[in-house]
Symmetry: C2
Subunit: 126 residues, 2 copies
């Protein structure tokens, strides 16, 4: 009882954002998972390698990317991913959706500022 441990996942990131980023990065240039881990880490999305590999396999299962094993000069073999035609289309669809989300988000934040102004401490005009 009285479990104050709420521990809610409040990062607010869009759903499937990782997938969208993967399609984008692979569109920019084909790569293998470990490379994408590092590229995404620099961007600040998807802090977990496991999620990334799982997402890649999911994308492949949907036919949005394709992979082939490739030998590495400095380590074990790796899976090299490329985006398919369907993947390109899906990315474009995602862009449309995310533009809508962007609009929502802008509306939310703008409205938030208005609300804060009106209930703020002294900034109120009039």
């Amino acid at each position: 009882m009285s479990d104050d441990r709420v521990n809610r996942n409040e990062d607010g990131q869009p759903k499937n954002f990782l997938r969208a980023w993967l399609l984008l990065l692979l569109t920019e240039s084909p790569a293998h998972g470990y490379d994408l881990v590092e590229r995404l880490d620099a961007i600040g999305v998807g802090r977990d390698a496991g999620s990334l590999y799982r997402a890649l396999r999911g994308l492949e299962h949907e036919g949005l990317v394709a992979s082939a094993w490739e030998a590495s000069l400095i380590g074990p073999d790796r899976r090299r991913y490329v985006v398919t035609e369907r993947g390109q289309e899906r990315l474009r669809a995602w862009v449309g959706l995310l533009e809508g989300v962007q609009a929502s988000l802008d509306a939310f934040l703008a409205r938030c500022r208005s609300a804060v102004d009106e209930h703020g401490d002294g900034i109120a005009r009039h």
Copy 2:
């Protein structure tokens, strides 16, 4: 259609966006759930009343909003919600998070357009 059950939830909305909107709308003016359903429907967030009531109870459980029963002139009693001090703080925190998401999203979309440009055939639509 086929046996390929992909059926992914790809709306791309930020997680807990409904909660954030509820805090904002309640900051603008206290209200009861049914009213919020209609306000949010106009905005285009949270198309489900059940989720909304569940979210409200969740917010209350966290002490971010408070409620009291109120008689209605035209229907059954309703629960009137107001935002608490903690709720205000949480909303401000959410604004900070969502500004980060906004930046991410802008970066993603900008980078997407660059990628599409470089691959030429992408822009031509119908």
